[in-house]
Point group: C2
Chain length 308, copies 2
C-alpha cells in the first residue's frame, strides 16, 4: 500500500460555545491549523453557523473531497446549528449518536457531539462531556471524580468508563457578575493570593453565610481599607469555598482530575490540596481535542479518516 | 401668640439613594408636595446635587426664609453631596450629628443623616437607620429585630432604643443580576407563588447548595419544562431561603418588624410565618418620612420648625 496523501486524514475539530468558536485543522491527532473567533452560539442565527465556520476554515479545506468536522458545545443546543439530543447518565461521555448539521458547502460534513443530561437532580452539560472523553482516552477504566471549573463548574463521578452522576455550580458566572456588575465592583480589582486562601476557608466553613460575607467585602473595603486585590481574591475564594462545601459528596475520599484553564484550575487544585484531596491538573483545550479525536470513531464509516 | 403662617413649619424630606431621589414638602408631619426622579447619587458629581434637588423643589420654597432639608441615604456617602461619617453601633439609629451640605441657594439649608457602621463583622448602612428611627418613633422602647428587605437586605437587633448589631445580605442585588443578566434569564419571567414557597423551603434546608440549585433552575427548564413564572419565584425563594437560614441568629425566638416595599416585604413575611416567627409589616416610605421627621430634632435650634 502506498502512503496516504497528507490531506487524506485531514479533519477539523471545533469547540463551539456560547461566546466563542475555536477551530483546529488536524491530520490524525496532529494540529496543523488553529484559529478562534467570538462567533459563539449566542450571537448566531441558525443559518449563520456555516458561514461563521467557513470564514475561519475555508483556506484549510482540500479541494475535491469531504472534510469531516467534529464539533462540541452549545452548537448542539436547541438554539444552535443542529440540536444534538442529550444522552442520559449513567452513560459513556460520548454516549449518543452524533448529530449531522445541515451544510450547503459540499466540502464540509459537520457532526455535533451530544451533551449529557441527568434527570434528577436536573442537570445538563454540553462540551464538558468531550473533555471527559478526552481524559478517559488517556486513562481508560479510570475511577474517580472529574472537576471542570469554569463559568458553570461541573463535578462528575466516573466509573467503568461511564459518567455516573454530575452537578453544576454557577460559581464562575457568579464571580463575573459580582466582580464586574454588582456593588462589589467598586472594591475589587487585581489579585492577592492570600485573600483567596482566606476566602476559601471562610466559604467552606460556613457556606450558608455566603450572601452576608459578600456584602462584608464592600463593608471591609469602606471601613478597614481592605485592598482591592485581596478583596477580589477573597470574593473568588468565598464562591469556590462554598462550591467545595456543597460538592463534598463528590470529592470526599476520591481522587480528583481537574480539567480547566491554567489559572482557575490551579486555584481549585490549591483549595483541594488543603483538604488533602489527591488532584491532577489537565489542560482543557488538550482534553477537548483528545475528546473530539475520540469522537471520530462515531462518524459514519465513509468519513472515518484513514490516518490516525 | 398669633397662629403661625402656613409656611412657618415648612421643611423638605429627601430619600436620596444610589439610583433615585424622592422628595416631600411637609408642614410638620403633613405631606404637601411629593416628587421623585432618577437623579440618584450614582449619576451625580459633587456639584450636581444642589441643582438636582432645586430642579424638584424650587416651586415649593417660600421666599424670604430658609427651608430646612433633611436627607438620608447614599447622599451622605464619600461619593455623595457631603460625607456624613458613620456612627458606630451600638447606638441610637440617629446616633450622630447631621452633616451640613454646602449650598449656594440661600433658601436651602441641607442636612444629611449619618449612616451606621459595625466594625466587626464589618457592615454599613445608609438610609435604613432612618427607617429604623421612624419605626422606633411609633414604638418607643421596642425590643426585637427589624428586617429591611431590598437590594441589600438588612437585619438589625434593637434593644433599649439602640441598634445593637446588624447584618447585610446581597439577596436583592443577586436576584436582579441572576434574573436579568445570567444564563437563568432565559428561564425566568413572571411569578408563580407556589414556586416561591418551594424555593424558600429548599434554600433554608440546604443553604450551602445554593449555587447548584441555581443552575438546576436552568436544567429543569430545559429538561422538564419548568414554567418561567415558577422558575423566577423559585429563584427568589432560594435566595431568600438562604438568607433566612443565615439570619437565623437574628430571628430565632424574636419578634420581627419588616420594613419594605409591599411585594418584597410580603414575601419575607410569608416565609417567616412558616417558621412561626411573629411578624408585623411596615411601609418603607412611611418609615423614612417618620424617621426624617424625627431627625429634625437634631437640627441647629434656629432651624427647628415652630409647627410640629
Amino acid at each position: 500500500m502506498s502512503e496516504p496523501a497528507p490531506t487524506q486524514g485531514f479533519w477539523i475539530a471545533a469547540d463551539w460555545g456560547t461566546s466563542h468558536l475555536r477551530v483546529w485543522g488536524l491530520s490524525g491527532d496532529r494540529v496543523i491549523h488553529a484559529a478562534q473567533s467570538d462567533q459563539g452560539m449566542g450571537v448566531l442565527e441558525r443559518d449563520g453557523f456555516e458561514p461563521a465556520l467557513l470564514a475561519m476554515v475555508r483556506d484549510w479545506l482540500p479541494e475535491g473531497q469531504v472534510t469531516p468536522v467534529l464539533a462540541c458545545g452549545m452548537v448542539g443546543s436547541r438554539q444552535g446549528w443542529v440540536e444534538a439530543p442529550y444522552s442520559a447518565v449513567p452513560c459513556a461521555p460520548l454516549g449518543g449518536p452524533l448529530a449531522q448539521a445541515p451544510c450547503r458547502d459540499l466540502r464540509l460534513s459537520v457532526h455535533v457531539v451530544p451533551g449529557l443530561k441527568q434527570p434528577r437532580p436536573a442537570d445538563v452539560m454540553r462540551g464538558e462531556e468531550t473533555q471527559i472523553a478526552g481524559y478517559l482516552a488517556a486513562h481508560p477504566g479510570w475511577d474517580g471524580v472529574i472537576c471542570l471549573p469554569g463559568t458553570h463548574s461541573k463535578w462528575a463521578h466516573l466509573s467503568a468508563g461511564e459518567v455516573v452522576s454530575f452537578q453544576t455550580f454557577l460559581t464562575g458566572e457568579m464571580f463575573a457578575l459580582l466582580s464586574e456588575t454588582s456593588v462589589l465592583r467598586h472594591s475589587v480589582s487585581g489579585w492577592e493570593a492570600a485573600g483567596f486562601a482566606e476566602g476559601v476557608a471562610l466559604g467552606m466553613e460556613r457556606p450558608e453565610r455566603l450572601m452576608a460575607r459578600l456584602f462584608a467585602i464592600r463593608a471591609e473595603s469602606l471601613l478597614h481599607g481592605l485592598e482591592a486585590g485581596a478583596a477580589r481574591a477573597r470574593l473568588s475564594g468565598l464562591l469556590i469555598g462554598a462550591e467545595l462545601a456543597a460538592a463534598k459528596p463528590y470529592w470526599l475520599g476520591q481522587r480528583v482530575a481537574i480539567i480547566g484553564a491554567e489559572g482557575v484550575a490551579r486555584a481549585y487544585a490549591d483549595a483541594l490540596k488543603t483538604l488533602s484531596v489527591p488532584v491532577t491538573l489537565h489542560d482543557a483545550t488538550e482534553m477537548t481535542l483528545a475528546g473530539l479525536t475520540r469522537a471520530r470513531a462515531l462518524l459514519p464509516e465513509a468519513e472515518r479518516p484513514c490516518v490516525n
